[in-house]
């Protein structure tokens, strides 16, 4: 198990307290990361297949329950700390997954209750719309409300143990950047560069989950999250890598840019401005103030530098078990920063064209954790503009 039983117990207790405050009798959680967060159990089947429903129920008091498809029962019992792990399917306590949910609620006398589910944007349930409809029909006495507020409240603040995993994910990512800089050459394709980054992460212990965006050259600067192509890099190209490793389910998310052989003065200027913006944003990351202050600090700098038209998005997002979490680092987000929050800080400048080649995307993204004193940068890799042969 990735965490101690005590840690899981604490998460459960915090959750139950939030449920009491919100008047929610039971949580019906079906998403991969919430199941993992509360029980310790995970499986690639939750991602590879949309055909089998996994559900985790948390009650206001007492033991939570994990209900998995029959063949996963061995794994679920070994991997989770729960006392009550059941299965649906042949030989199970219910024949179908939706029936299992009803039977569970009946057992706990909750056929007339308020059920929290993952209904709001940002955290989607792992049911089909049909499955959720069926659950609503077989539980006519239940009222379904969104519980994502509770999920974010708990997952927003990472424990020391979680922070260790976040650190490791960032370390793996940074190590792969060093590996890339040592091995990349002008004339490689985006796909070849992608290979090097992947191998760099894998040899450092990256888990199966990862993402790697590589864009190079003026026809690609304006592509934000594409798959790498066979584009052959040439002298003068900027190469942007936006990538992350996962470790025990926790993500990193970094962006770095390097140049092949040479850069223009305009590109150097924008790069330096984006780097300065990043530094200022990191300085603004500290407990007790709204997270929106980070974005405001970046925006003020951009405005004062005459570069506000090059800012096309907010200054970043929180991260953890998912790459994108709440809060958002945008001026309107008033969530107060607290120690244990993990943020990806990526205020960026873009010189795009809608019709022809662009001049560059200048995004240098770091991962920081809020500490009692301010913040700690977990992404310890160079932010200098490296120029590769």
């Amino acid at each position: 198990m990735a965490f101690s039983k005590n840690e899981y117990q604490r998460r459960l207790e915090k959750c139950q307290k939030e449920m009491k405050d919100a008047g929610i009798d039971v949580l019906l959680l079906t998403s991969e990361k919430n199941i993992y967060y509360f029980s310790g159990y995970r499986t690639s089947l939750l991602r590879n297949s949309n055909f089998r429903l996994f559900s985790l129920l948390i009650f206001q008091t007492g033991e939570p329950v994990l209900i998995v498809p029959n063949l996963e029962i061995g794994a679920a019992r070994i991997m989770s700390w729960f006392k009550d792990v059941r299965f649906w399917g042949p030989g199970g306590f219910a024949a179908e997954s939706t029936e299992a949910v009803k039977k569970m609620l009946a057992e706990k006398n909750l056929l007339k209750s308020t059920v929290g589910a993952e209904l709001a944007p940002g955290l989607r349930f792992y049911m089909t719309q049909k499955e959720f409809e069926i659950i609503g029909q077989i539980l006519p006495g239940c009222r379904f409300v969104d519980c994502n507020g509770i999920m974010w409240k708990l997952r927003m603040i990472k424990s020391p143990a979680e922070l260790e995993y976040m650190r490791e994910a960032s370390r793996i990512t940074c190590a792969s950047y060093e590996y890339l800089l040592d091995n990349v050459k002008t004339g490689m394709t985006e796909k070849e560069i992608h290979k090097i980054v992947q191998i760099g992460m894998i040899r450092e212990g990256c888990e199966v989950d990862n993402f790697v965006v590589v864009t190079a050259g003026d026809m690609r600067y304006s592509s934000m999250n594409p798959w790498p192509t066979d584009y052959v890099t040439k002298k003068g190209d900027l190469v942007l890598i936006d990538w992350g490793a996962s470790y025990n389910g926790y993500w990193s998310d970094l962006t770095r840019i390097f140049a092949l052989a040479s850069t223009t003065d305009h590109q150097k200027d924008l790069y330096q401005a984006a780097n300065r913006m990043r530094e200022i944003s990191i300085e603004a990351a500290r407990p007790g103030v709204p997270v929106g202050e980070i974005d405001k600090a970046a925006t003020i700098f951009a405005r004062e530098s005459g570069l506000i038209d090059f800012m096309l998005h907010r200054s970043g997002h929180a991260i953890g078990l998912q790459i994108h979490e709440l809060p958002s680092i945008s001026a309107t987000d008033e969530t107060i920063m607290s120690p244990g929050m993990c943020l990806t800080i990526e205020p960026a400048l873009y010189d795009f064209s809608r019709t022809g080649p662009s001049k560059g995307a200048f995004r240098i993204e770091d991962l920081v954790a809020i500490t009692p004193e301010g913040c700690e940068v977990y992404s310890k890799c160079t932010t200098a503009l490296e120029i590769v042969a």
Partner: protein, 390 residues
């Protein structure tokens, strides 16, 4: 740049599109609203890692006649407009047609005259909607004269049969997957951990051209046999351990999915019997794979062979599934599925035997394509039992 970005020629996308519109007419669906990454990619040619972020929905609208429209977040417009074969790509956010995604979608419905439509979308059959429940609810309220029905009957029917170009991608993904196995058995040794094995396989697959997002589960030793999809751990293999690896690479979005079992140092007689039986059952299932016959017959053939060999009690699941842009697709290789096999269908054939809790899991999974004359096995890696001696 366009030629590099589209994975298939425009004519292939147009062919898919026309078939789709034909099926929509039959099903009396006016507009297909696709929100799931694999469906959007299949019909448009566009994909983004943002598909797996739950914060921004992506929508592709296919009308019964006429061109499609796609709605993306503003910053994705640049990629999307370059990567798709059609013209109408709309965005929400600064400079867009609305400030939020749902209003943007409603706006397109309005401007395209779809306000009174029967809308098919991903409600059912192994497809999760690519927007939250609340967003979908909001959209339904903003489109009161539309009715929403399940549209995945159409998307599955189209995706079920792979074109020659798609099959090339499946073949390449499978080749890469097999290279991973070869690298592993050439390097595995006693004392190696599951995580080290993952590193060897994954590195090799990446070197061979695997895209991001591969999958891999690996379980070694008696304490791990009864875990179905075990994630790699620091467990170090020792003499007598069986190692089961279930993994796949992905190329141009197309998946492979194989399973192999090998032994460390030695294997006992009972395990060897079950391994050989599983292999024979697999071969029987492959022989039963041919066009014109219900796919369930593959499972029936496997089950019969298991009965003949006296190992039926060790079978715990169906004989496999189909695969393509997702690892698990339909039809299912189970006796009850009477879908008629057609050339171009891709099956992962994995009738398996399990001697739980600690005797072993014997699953040898191959990727097999239905052809005009029968089938072709795409997975060239050995199914002989390998015993690692080093």
């Amino acid at each position: 740049m366009g030629e590099i970005l589209m994975i298939f020629p425009k004519s292939e996308y147009e062919a898919r599109y026309l078939k789709c519109q034909f099926l929509m007419k039959e099903a009396r669906i006016d507009v297909l609203m696709l929100t799931k990454g694999s469906n959007i990619f299949y019909f448009s040619g566009y994909r983004t890692s943002l598909f797996s972020s739950h914060f921004r929905p992506f929508v592709l609208l296919i009308p019964q006649s006429g061109e499609p429209s796609m709605i993306v977040p503003n910053l994705e417009w640049f990629s999307a407009s370059k990567e798709v074969w059609f013209d109408d790509v709309v965005f929400w956010g600064p400079g867009g047609n609305a400030s939020d995604p749902i209003s943007s979608v409603q706006s397109v419905f309005k401007s395209r005259g779809f306000l009174n439509s029967v809308v098919g979308t991903e409600l059912d059959i192994g497809q999760r909607l690519g927007m939250s429940y609340q967003e979908f609810d909001q959209l339904k309220q903003m489109l009161p004269k539309c009715s929403f029905v399940n549209g995945t009957g159409i998307t599955w029917e189209l995706r079920m049969v792979k074109s020659p170009a798609e099959l090339e991608c499946m073949k390449e993904a499978t080749r890469i997957t097999c290279c991973g196995y070869e690298a592993l058995i050439s390097n595995a040794r006693k004392g190696m951990t599951e995580k080290e094995m993952q590193m060897i396989v994954a590195s090799e697959m990446m070197s061979q051209g695997c895209e991001q997002e591969y999958f891999l589960s690996i379980g070694a030793g008696p304490e791990r046999y009864s875990i179905m999809n075990p994630l790699p751990t620091d467990y170090a293999v020792k003499d007598g351990d069986l190692v089961l690896m279930d993994w796949g690479a992905v190329v141009n979005g197309y998946w492979s999915d194989l399973t192999r079992v090998f032994a460390i140092g030695s294997i006992n007689e009972r395990q060897m019997e079950l391994y050989n039986a599983a292999n024979r059952i697999r071969e029987t299932a492959i022989t039963a794979t041919r066009p014109g016959v219900p796919i369930g017959e593959v499972d029936v053939a496997a089950t019969r062979m298991a009965e003949m060999l006296g190992v039926r009690e060790y079978m715990l699941h169906r004989s496999g599934h189909t695969i393509g842009l997702e690892v698990h697709e339909i039809p299912s290789i189970s006796a009850a599925d009477r879908t008629i096999m057609k050339p171009g269908m891709c099956l992962t054939i994995e009738p398996a035997l399990y001697d739980w809790p600690d005797g072993g899991s014997f699953r040898i999974e191959d990727l097999v394509v239905v052809t005009e004359n029968g089938n072709e096995v795409y997975s060239p890696c050995t199914t002989d039992l390998i015993v690692i001696d080093r």
